[in-house]
């Protein structure tokens, strides 16, 4: 049996070629987001906003690579944070135990990314030949074990406390990229050209490169094959595509992208622990981002990440206001407690899956189309 009924609801990549009113709106929004991210250190002066911008960059890569699995290939994996964590821990261990220089960062990162790729190959070959449901279960178990390992192997990973380390000198806040006459970091539009700025652009550029690569992959012949497999697995197999090989390849690509995102995240945070990389909450966040944004569209990932990040920041404020306003009512304040925000996000998620399986981006792109 194939899942054709569902997949017809997902936007096909062909739909992107035909611009619709909704599509134009969508791309304008994405262009604005892209520009804001590009100039984030100059637009937002406070540290907190730059932090949000960097997080968005990293999660766009995570969500886009996850979408490659779930949206383009129809594979549901719960091990995406596992690969994210492997990249992060690789970089972290290199910097912590090797030294805060480029060589060790590279060594650790390559080690982490390679380990992620190898593990992805193993999991893929072992279980991608069976049903999607089974694969979801296996990855769920694998992800949880990686979490346990990270918190148990204290000597390597720092356990629950994680690892704190320094980054290469270029990224240190005290680093001056360009000095002015006073020997201080020169300013451009009032922003000091220091290590902080270099670090942000390191994050931005790496994430941009990975995202562009992912976007190219879905438009390449490989993307077409993936679509054929997703639409009708048996037929793709009959035509001669080695479905398991293709699926494993995609799983590995997604794993590598997630691991690279992990490296970047580890460098940005100067800290790596189970909660920042491996936790199931992050996995759920990625899932929500992709579904909210729209499965099967790379741009949906961007929308999903931005919406989720904004919601995480502002929904809590809104809820605490609402909780205060309803303090007389019996159970309602508990439900509106800011800590309960996943409840509402979960409900939104269920409603989206039920009524708008194409997500924001997919629904927008269909809107205003003549067909």
């Amino acid at each position: 049996m194939t899942d054709t009924a569902a997949e017809r609801d997902l936007p096909s990549t062909a739909a992107c070629a035909r611009p619709t009113a909704g599509g134009v709106a969508l791309f304008s929004v994405i262009a604005v987001i892209g520009l804001l991210l590009l100039f984030a250190p100059f637009v937002f002066s406070d540290v907190r906003s730059t932090q949000v911008a960097a997080r968005i960059c990293v999660f766009v890569v995570l969500a886009a690579s996850y979408d490659l699995l779930i949206g383009y290939t129809g594979i549901v994996s719960f091990a995406h944070t596992m690969f994210f964590g492997m990249g992060a821990y690789g970089a972290a261990m290199g910097l912590k135990f090797g030294g805060a220089d480029w060589g060790h960062l590279l060594l650790g990162s390559v080690g982490g990314v390679l380990a992620a790729a190898v593990l992805a190959v193993l999991i893929g070959l072992l279980s991608l030949r069976v049903k999607a449901l089974f694969f979801a279960m296996v990855t769920l178990a694998a992800g949880s074990v990686m979490m346990v390992l990270a918190s148990q192997l204290t000597s390597l990973t720092g356990g629950e406390d994680g690892l704190v380390y320094s980054t290469p000198r270029l990224f240190k806040p005290a680093m001056k990229l360009v000095t002015n006459a006073d020997g201080e970091a020169a300013r451009l539009f009032g922003v000091p050209l220091d290590g902080r700025l270099a670090l942000y652009y390191f994050v931005f550029i790496v994430c941009l490169v990975v995202f562009v690569l992912l976007a190219r992959i879905v438009r390449s012949p490989l993307g077409t094959v993936l679509e054929a497999i997703r639409e009708n697995e048996l037929r793709a197999e009959a035509i001669g595509y080695r479905v398991v090989a293709y699926r494993t390849a995609v799983f590995v690509i997604a794993a590598v992208a997630a691991a690279v995102a992990g490296v970047v995240w580890a460098v940005w945070l100067r800290y790596t622990g189970p909660d920042t990389t491996l936790s199931f909450d992050i996995m759920i966040d990625i899932l929500l981002m992709v579904v909210i944004g729209g499965m099967g569209t790379m741009y949906g990932a961007i929308i999903g990440v931005v919406v989720m990040s904004l919601a995480q920041s502002y929904l809590k404020d809104l809820m605490s206001a609402a909780a205060g306003a309803t303090s007389g009512v019996p159970i309602l304040p508990h439900l509106l407690d800011p800590d309960r925000w996943p409840l509402w996000l979960g409900l939104l998620f269920i409603l989206l899956v039920l009524f708008f399986p194409a997500g924001i981006a997919g629904t927008l792109m269909k809107k205003g189309s003549r067909s």
């Binding site: 569902a6 996943p342 269920i350």
Partner: protein, 334 residues
């Protein structure tokens, strides 16, 4: 002739995969060293296994019958645990009484309330979450995961973020000593309850017409319909039963652990997922096997190599998958 070919016939003769828990027990004895510690660990492992069986069997049966993998299944475990805790707190007079009768009454009230909740919530869940996305695996995984998030948050909203202490009936709290091995009464009770449920399920599945329909439906749903039976109605019943068993398992687990937190649901999800993968999807025999293996191994490893205890389940799962990719005892699918 390869070694595995030589072993296979004698392995089948001693009971095949059903002998695995026994083999595990025998292997553990010399490793543990002392007989009394071994008895304590084995009883603990069997009791834990039986509770996990209660929680996992519904997941496996529902999958077998309708190809529905309900990641929200562990929400019933979580609710069952918290409802039982509340009932036990409410009946603290009975729980603390020095009368076995009142103690048991309190415990049965807690288990009954949890199971009843499972039955009723099962219908609602099936109607709201499972039915709308029937036949669509991707959305099914997503929506049941969403349902798990929402129900975990509901548990936290109702019972708070802090861990809850579960009152355990006085009579079941003690231990008794046989030949130097101390055995918790509660564990014996948990084992007996789980065994009773397994035997009951086994009899229903193998001796009744409904059971015959369920087994046939797991194998080939379409053909059962072509013989004139509405399988969705059967499915709702199985779903309710599975949810009730999960809640019952959660209630027992609450008493076993003594303290429960709001993240119980997602923690148990991982465990029952591993159990169902090990056992093979769709059969209660498989779930029992997987649950007993996980329970026993967990206890032995925690004693022998404490560091490895959390990873032992995963190692077991990988070993089983390499040996039998479909699990130890999956349902026959045609």
């Amino acid at each position: 002739m390869r070694l595995s070919d030589k072993i296979a016939p004698s392995f089948e003769r001693i009971g095949g995969v059903y002998a695995l828990p026994v083999i595990l027990m025998i292997v553990a004895l010399p490793l543990v060293g002392s007989l009394s510690s071994w008895v304590t660990l084995t009883v603990a492992g069997l009791a834990m296994g039986m509770m996990i069986f209660l929680m996992a069997s519904g997941l496996s049966l529902v999958f077998g019958l309708m190809n529905v993998l309900n990641f929200g299944h562990s929400a019933f475990i979580s609710f069952g645990a918290f409802i039982a805790a509340s009932v036990l707190t409410g009946l603290s007079a009975w729980v603390g009484a020095h009368s076995l009768g009142f103690n048991l009454l309190a415990l049965f009230a807690a288990i009954g309330a949890a199971s009843l909740f499972g039955l009723v919530a099962g219908i609602v869940f099936e109607y709201l979450i499972i039915r709308p996305v029937a036949g669509d695996h991707l959305r099914q995984i997503l929506i049941t995961m969403g349902a798990l998030i929402v129900s975990e948050e509901l548990v936290r909203a109702i019972w708070g973020d802090n861990p809850i202490t579960v009152a355990r009936p006085a009579a079941l709290n003690g231990i008794f000593v046989i030949g130097g091995a101390s055995i918790e009464i509660y564990r014996v009770f948990a084992f007996c309850l789980g065994l009773a449920v397994f035997v009951g399920l086994y009899l229903v599945l193998n001796r009744t017409r409904i059971g015959l329909l369920i087994r046939a439906g797991v194998e080939n749903r379409e053909m059962v319909e072509a013989l004139g039976f509405r399988i969705e109605r059967l499915f709702v019943g199985v779903f309710m039963l599975g949810s009730a068993l999960a809640a019952m398992g959660g209630a027992m687990w609450a008493g076993y652990q003594g303290t429960i937190t709001g993240s119980l649901g997602s923690e148990m999800l991982i465990l029952i997922t591993i159990v169902v993968i090990i056992g093979g999807l769709g059969s209660i025999e498989g779930s029992l096997l997987g649950a007993l293996l996980v329970g026993l191994l967990g206890n032995y490893v925690a004693f022998l190599f404490p560091k490895l205890s959390l990873a032992s389940n995963m190692l077991l799962m990988m070993a089983v998958l390499l040996w039998r990719p479909w699990g130890l005892k999956p349902a026959v699918k045609s």
